[in-house]
């Protein structure tokens, strides 16, 4: 597997070529360089997956963990160092496939979507940088390498969100995304430091590794802190605020980074540390589940009322990542047959979600490309203008809603089954959220393709189907969405590595299908028609709730208040004032007093003989008096 190094090197080379030489390239050349290198990476990733999963299993029924490369990049102490290497195990290989596939689709799609944009070369350079970092993150051999690439994906995300750097909203959004995730990464970093200090290594602990002494007590803390980092990247409540704003970036970027790959890094982190979570910190793991649950519910409720289609999709992403977190968090053992099902379900959902969410975003991009707006008010009735986009979008909607035989049904069903095993309350809560998902997705679908058409706008500028470079990725991903559910995913990935046969639990599946169908019918009833009396009435009836949800329950305002009013006004300004007036003032005062003292005794050195004689005589007189008395 030595060739896997190319998976990282090719995008890096492409980044350097485009970054340094892009200025002298035509758009076409730049796009071709980026896409070709990514094509090669995709081929290599699929090849790796093929070779890896067809290799014979070890005696205990797991796939062998391969480390084709590992070298000490930056040594700290004898035991601690940042190593750079490549680690292949079922989840990292699965991620390689996901990332390279989606990234390739986005590269192809962008050739059409970004055509003629200023900064086209820069765009492809950043895409390559992102892909390299994300691939490096998933193949990390140790937690510090992961952190390193984690920061790099953060910065690529920053650069891509702020791609339209002359737009103030984009600049603000990129800044917000970076700072919020940086803040979360602080938790990650401290977690890593605690982990390294107590366990004496930055390596991952495999199944059945033993911790001793203080490490047993401190590892849960370390894992909890690391999860803060994961929660920041994966937009878990309350650190999710950057993701909806991140939609200011070009839409293909949202599809790649903010829907399918980077935002699931947190899920991947938890999955990576899963043996430790299960072995030493089950309580922290369940905390993860509750955070996921709250996030999933919150985001789903906000998604129900948003009018910007990318925002709806962003909140949907947040909600779906919540699902994955819940699935991981409800694991109680590492045996997939008894309480460990969630691990497999989470990875499965990660896989299917990446495909259909990328599809949704690329579809949204196609729509935005056609109507030049993100707002649903500019859409409606688009099905007749854009058949390919319409049908692929519908497939993705059905998948995310959990309708068989589309992929989302299978993975979501496993998640629900795992939740029911953990506790019926969590199971029902998740079923309801799944119903909300179906509802808001079909609200979106009908709002775009059916509903009230903005005839005035469309007459002025007739929407058109996108070129092949854009519709091909849509069709490809739609096909994947149709068939991915039938992948025997449990054979590749499971909580203890052994093969697990997915079997549908029809009581759970039946319930979830029923809930989804009801929700879809409800959405159809409310949003399909030209006139939408029910929707208007509801909006009017629950005005307060609707407004609050539309404003995302004012969380952004709270953050705004805390950062601007409290941190800037009450910490930064006083400190700066203190520095200038108190600290510096003290030194200025010292200088001034030295000056003033010199000034005031200067008269003693006047150079006038009369004065000296006068003082001399006075002194003598005083001495004489002193001696006499």
């Amino acid at each position: 597997m030595e060739y896997t190094i190319l998976i990282l090197l090719l995008p890096l080379l492409s980044f350097l070529t485009l970054g340094l030489g892009g200025k002298w390239m035509s758009h076409r050349t730049a796009g071709l360089i980026g896409t070709t290198s990514l094509g090669a990476v995709t081929v290599l990733s699929w090849l790796t997956a093929g070779l890896y999963f067809t290799a014979p299993r070890l005696a205990d029924g797991t796939f062998e963990t391969l480390i084709p490369y590992n070298f000490r990049w930056l040594p700290f102490t004898e035991t601690l160092s940042i190593d750079m290497g490549i680690l292949l195990d079922p989840i990292s290989v699965m991620m390689l496939v996901v990332i390279s596939t989606v990234s390739l689709m986005v590269h192809i799609y962008s050739m059409g979507y970004m055509k003629g944009e200023r900064g086209f070369q820069r765009y492809y350079a950043f895409l390559s940088l992102f892909t390299m970092s994300m691939l490096g993150l998933v193949v990390a051999t140790n937690i510090f390498q992961m952190y390193l690439f984690w920061e790099l994906v953060g910065v690529s995300s920053y650069l891509l969100i702020g791609f339209y750097y002359t737009k103030p909203e984009a600049v603000a959004a990129s800044k917000k995304a970076f700072i919020v995730t940086r803040f979360a990464d602080l938790g990650f970093l401290i977690g890593i430091l605690v982990y390294g200090y107590y366990t004496g290594t930055y390596g991952f602990f495999g199944e059945g590794a033993e911790l001793t002494g203080m490490a047993v007590k401190m590892v849960p803390l370390a894992l909890g802190l690391m999860f803060i980092g994961g929660a920041g990247k994966s937009a878990m409540f309350p650190l999710h605020i950057w993701l909806p704003d991140a939609m200011e970036g070009p839409t293909p970027v949202s599809a790649l980074i903010h829907a399918s790959t980077m935002v699931v890094a947190g899920v991947y982190l938890v999955a990576r540390m899963f043996p430790l979570f299960i072995g030493y910190a089950p309580d922290v793991l369940h905390m993860v589940a509750y955070v996921g649950l709250i996030t999933a519910f919150y985001a789903a409720s906000v998604a129900c009322v948003q009018s910007d289609i990318k925002r709806v999709l962003a909140f949907s992403t947040i909600s779906q990542i919540g699902f994955m977190m819940v699935a991981l968090g409800v694991c109680t053992t590492s045996d997939p047959h008894h309480g460990g099902l969630g691990y497999m379900a989470s990875m499965f959902h990660l896989f299917t979600h990446a495909m259909f969410k990328a599809l949704l975003f690329l579809g949204a991009g196609s729509i935005i490309h056609a109507v030049h707006s993100n707002e649903m008010s500019a859409m409606g009735g688009l099905r007749k203008y854009m058949p390919i986009t319409h049908w692929t979008f519908l497939i993705a909607c059905l998948a995310i809603a959990g309708i068989p035989p589309f992929s989302g049904f299978f993975s979501k069903d496993e998640i629900l089954a795992a939740c029911f095993q953990f506790s019926p309350v969590v199971g029902w809560a998740m079923t309801i959220i799944a119903g909300m998902t179906a509802f808001y997705m079909f609200r979106l679908y009908f709002g775009i393709f059916w509903g009230t058409e903005n005839k005035e706008l469309h007459a002025h500028h007739t929407p058109h189907e996108s070129p092949l470079s854009m519709s091909f990725p849509l069709m490809f991903l739609a096909v994947v969405t149709c068939v991915a559910g039938f992948i025997p995913f449990g054979h590749f990935t499971s909580s203890n590595g052994t093969a697990y046969d997915i079997h549908l639990d029809w009581t759970v599946a039946g319930t979830s299908i029923a809930v989804a169908v009801v929700a879809i019918l409800l959405a159809t009833y409310i949003y399909k028609g030209e006139k939408q009396p029910v929707a208007d009435a509801m909006q009017h009836r629950f005005k307060g709730l609707w407004t609050a949800a539309y404003h995302r329950f004012y969380l952004d305002e709270v953050y705004q208040y805390v950062t601007h009013k409290i941190i800037f006004r009450c910490i930064c300004r006083p400190i700066a004032w203190f520095d200038r007036h108190v600290v510096d003032g003290t030194f200025d005062f010292l200088a001034w007093s030295a000056n003033a003292a010199g000034d005031s005794i200067r008269t003693l050195q006047s150079g006038r003989i009369q004065q000296y004689v006068f003082v001399f005589l006075l002194g003598t007189l005083a001495l004489i008096l002193l001696l006499l008395v």
Binding site: V155, T166, S174, I179, R182, L193, A576, D579, F587
Partner: protein, 493 residues
């Protein structure tokens, strides 16, 4: 002649050359030749040093030599380098070289400017090669005094005030330092000024160490921007001309960290162990305080100066952790900060030279107008906030890792506090980048400005290449430094 003496000799020759130079072309020729010679010498020294180490030479200092020049007080011109000084010499040579290009078109009094500039460089190089306390002190002063004139004559803004303030505060520091050095000399039995011999004896009584350690540490700490003695830095940097800011923040401030490590910690370990916590608190405050202050500044140079307070605070902070990893990190941070901040000051100088303002409120949308400078500014910013692949990351991570290995929970707690600076750094860097580079240009006078000239590009590209090289391939320099800090850190185990 000893190889190391080249580093003093070349600047001396440059001074002679400048004195003879008749026009701007000759001045430039002298400066470029001299700076290149220094750069080549430092690279050659690094290679020779690594070869000697690879060949198994385990002496603490290599290329040592000693000539007595004032035997009555045992003052010698003793030279010698270890991995730390080699790294510092390399850094100084790079910054001097790029500094020459950054002041390529400086007017007026070009010749005088370069004379002082070269003298300043000589002081810096002399300080790093010497192992004799008094000679080190002498070179330290040689480096300080030209600052006064360089800022006072060629500076901008309230330059007289800043020059006076900077010089007085640093002189105050060196007064403490002189007492400290004399204390060490007499405390150790008064027969040598060579710090290696003093350290080998290690016989300064603890009661005396308790007095001389704080004085020495403080003396160097003032130069290393230790809170609350850092206030010369914002004013001084803001008023200094570009290349002087580069040299000052890039190299001169490193003298502080280097001196604290080489003299205060090395010669008086017992007192450092006892009293280190006081300074640890001060440096910890520097780190966070500098970062918070930078958040609300409006002058580009002030932002960078406060950022330097924060980053240099981290150097002293790491030194006080007294273990191998943290001290390695401290030296890496000196290197990294030196390169980054020189890059920043160079870019700020170039932007200021065009827009004639450094007020962030008056600048916007520069990315469209001067793309080269703007992109470099973004890279410098990313290096500053610790992006992996650039030098800031490796330095900070080595420090945090080393500091967190300290067994005392007090030290670990302060490490966590210091870690918070990475978030605050991101805040002020991104705020700045967003404000001045992105968006649309609102000032119509700025629309016609031009991008960097070739000499500016040379300076900036060299610095960026070094920042990236350090960030991508850190292991060799990290190894070189970490084996050299052992003699000091061994004293604490």
């Amino acid at each position: 002649m000893n190889l190391l003496s080249l580093f003093v000799l070349i600047p001396l020759l440059m001074l002679g050359g400048l004195w003879l130079a008749r026009d701007i072309k000759q001045i430039r020729a002298v400066m470029v030749t001299g700076a290149s010679a220094l750069l080549i010498a430092s690279v050659a020294l690094t290679v020779m040093y690594l070869q000697a180490r690879a060949a198994g030479n385990t002496a603490e200092m290599l290329f040592t030599d000693s000539i007595a020049w004032y035997p009555a007080l045992n003052i010698c011109y003793s030279v010698g380098v270890d991995g730390i000084s080699v790294a510092m010499l390399l850094l100084s040579a790079i910054i001097v070289f790029t500094g020459v290009f950054a002041s390529w078109r400086l007017q007026p009094l070009t010749k005088e400017y370069f004379l002082w500039f070269t003298l300043l460089s000589m002081g810096v190089f002399g300080f790093f090669i010497c192992t004799d306390l008094f000679t080190m002190f002498m070179f330290y002063e040689v480096a300080l005094i030209p600052m006064y004139l360089l800022i006072g004559v060629w500076g901008s803004g309230k330059k007289e005030y800043s020059a006076m303030k900077l010089t007085l505060m640093l002189m105050g520091g060196s007064a403490f330092l002189l007492i400290g050095i004399l204390g060490i000399y007499y405390g150790s039995g008064a027969d040598t000024m060579n710090l290696l011999e003093i350290a080998a004896k290690g016989n300064i009584p603890v009661e005396q160490q308790r007095i001389w350690f704080p004085l020495t540490f403080l003396g160097f700490g003032v130069l290393g921007a230790l809170f609350p003695f850092h206030t010369w830095s914002p004013d001084g940097h803001a008023s200094a001309p570009t290349a002087v800011s580069m040299l000052h923040a890039g190299v001169l401030m490193k003298l502080g960290g280097y001196g604290c490590f080489r003299i205060a910690m090395y010669l008086m370990p017992e007192a450092a162990d006892e009293l280190g916590w006081i300074f640890l608190v001060l440096t910890g405050i520097s780190v966070v305080y500098g970062a918070f202050s930078a958040c609300v500044q409006t002058d580009l140079k002030y932002i960078n100066a406060y950022s330097s307070v924060s980053h240099c605070g981290l150097v002293l902070f790491a030194i006080l952790m007294m273990n191998q990893t943290a001290c390695t990190g401290a030296v890496l941070q000196m290197l990294s900060h030196g390169l980054m901040t020189a890059l920043f000051f160079a870019l700020i100088g170039m932007i200021y030279g065009r827009t004639h303002t450094r007020d962030v409120r008056e600048l916007s949308g520069l990315m469209k107008i001067m793309p080269f400078l703007a992109v470099c500014y973004v890279i410098a910013g990313l290096a500053n906030l610790g992006l992996p692949g650039l030098s800031g990351f490796i330095a900070e991570m080595t420090i945090f890792n080393g500091a967190f290995q300290h067994d005392d929970p007090f030290h670990r707690t302060w490490t966590i506090i210091a870690c918070c600076s990475i978030v605050i750094t991101a805040v002020y860097i991104l705020r700045l980048v967003g404000k001045i580079l992105y968006g649309t240009c609102t000032n119509k006078h700025h629309l016609t400005l031009t991008d960097a000239t070739w000499d500016e590009r040379t300076a900036v590209i060299i610095l960026i290449a070094c920042v990236a090289a350090l960030g991508i391939a850190p292991w060799w320099i990290s190894d070189m430094i970490s084996e050299s800090v052992v003699p000091v850190t061994d004293l604490f185990n």
